[in-house]
Symmetry: C2
C-alpha cells in the first residue's frame, strides 16, 4: 500500500487549527511544545495519513541567529534584520539547536510519544539555499533579486553563509531524529529559481553537506524542492533517500531522472479544489505513473492550500489506500 | 552575428523612461501613441539592440473586455471586475482590436516608421492562459488557485474564455503585423505553473489557435514562456518559429527539446546585477551553448529588472555582437 501524508497537513485548512490560531499567534504555537505537539497530531485521525509532520516553521532558526522573525496578518514572514552585507555573515552568533531550538525538540518528543506506533513523526528543516533567500530578501519574493545579487557579488560571504546554515540545519535535523523523528525532510522550496549551473556552483555542496549530516541519523531523509524540472538529476545527487517533486514533471519521468532514489509527490495542491471526479482522476493518474514499483510516497507537490476542503484530503487518502 | 534584444528593454531601468513616468501613468503612456512610440525607441540607440519591442501592456485588451484595469504604485496590475463565475464569460463584449485597440496599432505604425530600417519592430500580446489567469485572479498570484479552480470546476466556461482570448489575441497580433511589426511575440509568462497534463488539456489547443492566427501574418512568431522545463516539447508543438526559454534549462538542452524551432534566451535577468566578470562569464556561457548553429536570438529568460544598470545591458550587447 502506498503511504500518504501531506505537506502542511497541520494548518489553516483545519477548523481545529484555526480555532487555536484565534487564541495564539503562529510563533506562539511554535514556541509552546504542548501546543505544537497538539497541532502536529490534529490531522492524523482526521485524515488517516501515514505520517505526522512536526508543526514548526523553517525560519525558526532565524531567532537565535538574531535576524528577527515576525509573521504578518497573511502569515507571510518578515525578517527584521536581513543579511544585506558580506560583513554581517561572520557576525552571526553561534547557534546550538539542542539549546536554542530546544522547544522544537521538546515538541518533537511530545508528538512522537503521543502518536500511535504505526504513525512515524517526520522532522524537518529549511535547506541552506531557501533559508539564505529568506535571510537576504527579508521575506517572500518572486524574483530573488537580492539573493542572486548577493550570491554573484559576494561569493565568499555567500559560501560562508551557506556553510553556517548547512552545519546548523544538519545538527538541527539530527537533534530532531534523536528527539523521536523517524524520518526527516529538507525543504529547498525555492531552489527552482536557479539555473542548473548556479545550483551546481552556489548550492549543491551545501545541500550535500546538510544531507550528509542528516543521513548520519540513520533515518530516511526526504529532499524536497519545487520547480526543479531542470535540476532534478543534480538535486537528487546532492542526497536524500527520497526526492520530493512537484506536479511540473510527470512522476514517472521525474523518477527516471532521480534514480535510484525513492520519490515523493506529486499532486498539484490546486487539484484539491477541483470537483471530486477531477480530483480522483488526477490522484489515480499519479498512482498509475508510480505503477507497482516500490518506493513511492504519495504527497502533494507543495503544501496544502488554506482553502482546501478537509473532505478532499480524506478522499485522496482513501483512494491512495486502495479505496 | 547573433541578434540580441531584451524583454522589457523599454522600462523602468532607463532614466529617460522614469522621467516620462514622472509626468504620465503607465496607462497614459500606453494610451498615447506618440508617447508609446517614443518609449519604444528609447532603448534602441542607448543599447544598440537588434530589435525594438512595442511599448504596451499584455493586459490592455481587458479595457474593451470590460474587466477594468488599473496599475498600483508598485505597477502591479489590478483587475477591478475579475472573471469569477462561468456566466461572466458569455457576457464579455465583442472586441475588435482594429478599433478597440487602435491606439496600440497607431503606436506600432509610428514606431515602425521612426525606427532605422535595420531594426525591426516586434509586436506582442499575452497568450490565452496568461491573460485568463490575470482575468480570474484579478492580479498577480503565486499559487494560481482561483485560475486552476475555475479551470477544473468550469471546464466549459474555461474553454469558452480561452477561445475568446485566442481569437482576440490572434486578430490583435495580425493587426500589429499589418501596422508594421516585423515579428510577433506571444507571452505565456505564467504557463509554467501547470502540469504537463493540464497544459495539454486546458491550454495547448488555445495557444495553437492563437499562434496559427499569428502565423497567417507571415512574419516570424516567438512563443515565450517561463518555468517551462517540464513542458517544452508540448509548448513548442503548439507553435511558434522561435521558442523563448528561461534560464532554468541550459540552452542546448532546451534546444534539443524544441527542435526544429529556433530559440530565444536565456540569461537570468539577475545576472545583470552581478559584477561585470560574472555577467560576462554567464553571457558567454549562453553563447557557447548555442554554438555555431544558426537560429539563436540572445535575450534574457524574463524581463529586465528595474534595478538593472544600463551599462550592464550595453556590455551584454557588445559581447553578443562579438566584442
Amino acid at each position: 500500500m502506498t503511504p500518504v501524508w501531506f505537506m502542511r497537513q497541520a494548518g489553516r485548512y483545519l477548523p481545529e487549527y484555526r480555532a487555536l490560531r484565534q487564541k495564539h499567534s503562529l510563533l506562539e504555537l511554535c514556541h509552546k511544545p504542548e501546543l505544537a505537539a497538539q497541532v502536529t497530531l490534529q490531522p492524523i485521525e482526521r485524515l488517516g495519513v501515514d505520517a505526522a509532520i512536526l508543526f514548526a516553521d523553517i525560519l525558526l532558526p532565524f531567532e537565535p541567529l538574531g535576524l528577527g522573525l515576525t509573521f504578518s496578518a497573511g502569515e507571510g514572514p518578515q525578517i527584521t534584520r536581513p543579511v544585506r552585507e558580506a560583513g554581517q555573515v561572520l557576525e552571526l552568533p553561534p547557534v546550538d539547536p539542542a539549546t536554542d531550538l530546544a522547544y522544537v525538540l521538546e515538541a518533537a518528543r511530545l508528538a512522537a510519544r503521543a502518536l500511535p506506533p504505526h504513525v512515524p513523526l517526520i522532522g524537518f528543516a529549511g535547506a541552506p539555499f531557501t533559508l539564505a533567500s529568506y535571510a537576504i530578501e527579508g521575506g517572500a519574493t518572486r524574483s530573488f533579486t537580492l539573493t542572486k545579487r548577493f550570491m554573484y557579488s559576494e561569493p565568499r560571504a555567500w559560501h560562508q553563509l551557506l556553510e553556517r546554515l548547512a552545519e546548523l540545519v544538519g545538527a538541527y535535523l539530527a537533534a530532531q531524529a534523536r528527539a523521536g523523528a523517524r524520518a526527516l525532510q529538507l525543504f529547498d522550496s525555492w531552489v527552482g529559481c536557479l539555473s542548473p549551473a548556479d545550483y551546481a556552483t552556489y548550492v549543491f555542496p551545501h545541500s550535500q553537506r546538510t544531507l550528509e549530516l542528516a543521513a548520519a541519523s540513520r533515518v530516511p531523509v526526504i529532499h524536497f524542492g519545487t520547480d526543479t524540472a531542470g535540476l532534478l538529476a543534480d538535486f537528487a545527487r546532492a542526497g536524500g533517500d527520497v526526492i520530493g517533486v512537484d506536479w511540473r514533471v510527470p512522476l514517472d519521468v521525474a523518477w527516471e531522472r532521480i534514480a535510484p532514489a525513492s520519490i515523493q509527490g506529486n499532486l498539484d495542491p490546486a487539484a484539491l479544489l477541483a470537483p471530486r471526479a477531477e480530483l480522483e482522476r488526477q490522484t489515480r493518474e499519479v498512482l498509475a505513473r508510480a505503477g507497482s514499483r516500490p518506493g513511492h510516497i504519495f504527497n502533494l507537490g507543495h503544501g496544502v492550500l488554506p482553502e482546501t476542503p478537509v473532505e478532499a484530503l480524506q478522499a485522496v487518502v482513501d483512494w491512495v489506500h486502495g479505496g
